[in-house]
Symmetry: C2
Subunit: 338 residues, 2 copies
């Protein structure tokens, strides 16, 4: 197999190397005749640009960073899938950068990343997308970034959202439509934007249906199985027991299953349960968990797309894009039976 570089393409096309480069990079002011010849030659030779050489000269890497703090593995995998799809499509590589935002060395690791940053931009996933210190670091060092589901929207940079609020609103409305009026709610980590939006959706749905909001039906969880277990136990042992529990994520919903089993409550006959996220685990719970699916991969794809637009300075009007979630109705809910 003959090695094919710009030089060989140029000689096939009968033009200069510079002209080929101009066509490749879509510069203006290039004669249509030459352009046609070059494009023909590109095809016949099967030319593929050498990214190392191109990057070396033009000072970019054709590589993006995907920054996330390991939430659930299934979230991570979906995130990667979406980001990778868009990167592939646009001829970019993806460097994954997992870290743990609760670790002591977290900020040090981020500082390191920023200091020796070699890539063209960063996609920041939650909950890091919510951390002002991190975002400021990128800002100060002129590193292009887009965020997924950030809470602080002040920034002028593009970001993508998913409609946590609307999904929680719809789910609550669905539960009300089944006849439930005492809907327990387990909140997620305090300060996390998703927690806040999900809770607000729940409250507003109650309000819209003229059901009085009852503070005693709400517990402050932390998105983990353990915190979910504590909250579920409190809710289910109270005199004021709810007929359904809406957990802010699936992991806490799984904890509700555990407590329900211990208290001999049959799901869904004595207690309905719903979660949020549609992690793979929902299918292994029995009965299968009714929950909410976020378009994670789609969000990541869009975040990459916006980042590349930003980098390549294409016009870039819609800075914030929001995606809808989807209610996934399975077997963990039933109509209200007093």
């Amino acid at each position: 197999m003959e090695k094919v570089n710009i030089k060989s393409v140029a000689s096939v096309a009968g033009v200069s190397i510079a002209s080929v480069s101009r066509v490749l990079n879509k510069k203006e002011n290039v004669n249509p005749a030459i352009k046609a010849k070059v494009e023909e030659a590109l095809k016949t030779t099967g030319y593929r640009r050498n990214l190392q050489a191109s990057g070396l000269r033009a000072k970019h890497s054709y590589t993006l960073t995907l920054l996330y703090s390991d939430p659930s593995p299934s979230y991570v995998v979906d995130l990667q899938k979406g980001a990778l799809a868009e990167c592939d499509k646009q001829g970019y590589s993806l460097n994954i950068f997992p870290c743990n935002h609760r670790n002591d060395d977290f900020l040090e690791r981020i500082t390191d990343l920023v200091k020796h940053f070699k890539n063209d931009g960063v996609v920041v996933a939650p909950p890091i997308s919510d951390m002002a210190e991190v975002i400021n670091l990128f800002e100060e060092n002129d590193i292009p970034y887009t965020r997924i589901s950030p809470y602080i929207i002040e920034s002028e940079r593009p970001s993508v959202f998913c409609n946590d609020y609307g999904a929680a609103f719809d789910m609550t409305t669905y539960l009300l439509s089944l006849g439930h009026e005492r809907i327990g709610f387990i909140k997620g980590t305090d300060g996390h934007s998703a927690s806040k939006n999900r809770f607000q959706g729940y409250k507003d749905a109650l309000f819209t249906q003229r059901i009085e909001f009852d503070e005693s039906l709400v517990e402050q969880g932390g998105f983990s199985f353990d915190t979910g277990e504590v909250c579920a136990r409190r809710l289910l042992k109270s005199d004021n027991k709810p007929s359904v529990i809406f957990a802010s994520n699936d992991e806490m919903a799984a904890a509700v299953y555990k407590v329900a089993a211990q208290l001999k409550l049959d799901i869904p006959n004595n207690l309905s349960v719903v979660g949020f996220d549609d992690t793979p685990m929902t299918k292994f719970l029995w009965p299968a968990l009714t929950t909410i699916r976020q378009p994670i991969a789609t969000q990541a794809k869009q975040a990459v797309n916006m980042l590349l637009n930003y980098i390549n300075d294409k016009s870039n009007e819609d800075l914030q894009i929001s995606f809808d979630c989807e209610l996934v109705l399975r077997e963990s809910t039933s109509i209200y039976r007093p």
Copy 2:
């Protein structure tokens, strides 16, 4: 911040560019005095090599590919963690390459990968590491690779294993020590090396303890929740019901939980259950699942290490390295009560 390249280092050290390069690449035949001066200069300037330029000239990418066919998300994440750790340590980047070996376009995707391969090598995770067609592609195209848990060992290339056999042996022995003699076994996907080894460990442990092997206690599963459910139902509805079920992975063990609940069998009092893999889900099952933890990250780390040794032609004697698994005893097993 002054930009620092080889040229500036050379001028600080008072030597030629070529000498600096020789020191950087640990070539022999370089005067100790010069070497010292260069090393000093490298420190004071804080030089970092430009991988694009280096790679362009020396024809390598300082990037490895991690090839896997999405088993469980938690497996993938562990795999990445280990591979990334070693790559970081050695100054390499990691490109992840997820795919689905059951998809129609699988071979096409692999062929594409091979055809336009730009990286320095590939780490192949199971079950792809077992697929001769894929391995042959790498072999034919002279792409350096290492495999994790391959079944076909003929190849002279380095690979890492984990002792599935020994772990299954130990787990079975543990169950026998609890007094169980009727141990049901759900096999994994037929043809998969892990399936085979785990089953063999189970059988040999029975043999060692002089417990007769009973074919009717074995079901052929496929590593998925659904197949696990079918197998569990068959085992638990038979007249010859086992007192414990050893599932070849956690997902199938979770299915056993579901069937047990349907049949009103209390775990662990009426039925013990054990799994394999120690996925995060085990902690959400109730009671928490006794299972086996593989050192996935460690294996990936080692695989990367061996791959880089191979690429850089360092001596490389131990071609196959095996790691032990760890029994994780939780609450899903109890002593045998007739």
